[in-house]
Point group: C2
Chain length 141, copies 2
DNA sequence: CTATTGTTTGTAACGATTACAAACTGCAGG
DNA sequence: CCTGCAGTTTGTAATCGTTACAAACAATAG
């Protein structure tokens, strides 16, 4: 579906966000946004780029992920203190997390009903509510 | 309330958990469990011990926090990929997190009603559900 | 009191992430 | 087109929290 003008979609996104469409950003954007929702770490995206024959430094991958997050193209997910995940799904939603192999799966926002929540302390607003459902193998010993 | 036999409580906890009651564990246990629920990082607890005149190495603080977690005296809370928090409240509950100053506040389990959740993927069990309510100042610019 | 086994300690090593200065590139204006 | 500048990228050094490790030490059974 994005075969003919492969970068058109990403290019538009970048322009709308006010980020210069550089070779690196276009390539990373394509890896990130083509195909369904993804959860990546900086290292993983860097490897992926290498394998796809795109030369991008790890530093740029970090910069880019943060810039994309800054303009709302990505969302940071904190589930594991060992590494930072970035989610291409920026809609309101939650996550399953399989610690065993560090995998994340989206849970659509409407699948979780939060019936009640206490009020935020005075002077504070709720910026976001994250629900993390941690999973383990059924018959682990 | 714990003035006369200050270490009795912690000593009992350690024995029940099968951990030798060493000077370091008793001292850290006291700092952690005397007084209400607390959220600490390794570095913070280490500083606190120093100030209380207790000599404990940072390595031991890390070891101890993990051992306490292992036997269920503490719970790890992942909210910020920069550092690991340990919570002395091991009951079922959730958290407010104020990113600005890295502060955590408990939300009692009964204050959050999770009305529905999708089933865990086949072969997996839900190990725990963490709800993190991220807060920001009301009129931040 | 002693042997044994579990603990503690200081320090080196690690892994993810950030800082930084130099090299490079997109793009506006001539 | 060419130029110059601001924005980007890059390699690498530095940082930071945490873990690994081996030697010194201490709790407990007997």
């Amino acid at each position: 579906m994005t075969q003919e003008r492969p970068y058109a979609q990403t290019l538009t996104r970048l322009r709308e966000a006010g980020l210069r469409p550089t070779r690196q950003r276009l390539a990373l954007g394509r890896l990130l946004f083509d195909g369904g929702d993804r959860h990546v770490t900086a290292e993983a995206l860097h490897d992926e780029a290498q394998k796809a024959g795109v030369s991008v430094s790890l530093a740029t991958v970090y910069n880019t992920l943060h810039q994309f997050t800054g303009v709302g193209l990505l969302r940071e997910v904190v589930v594991d203190s060992a590494r930072t995940y970035f989610d291409t799904n920026t809609d309101d939603h939650h996550h399953f997390f399989i610690e065993k192999d560090g995998a994340l799966m989206d849970i659509a926002g409407h699948e979780v009903m939060i019936g009640s929540l206490p009020d935020a302390p005075e002077g504070m607003d709720v910026a976001r509510v994250d629900v993390i459902v941690r999973l383990q193998d059924r018959n682990r010993d």
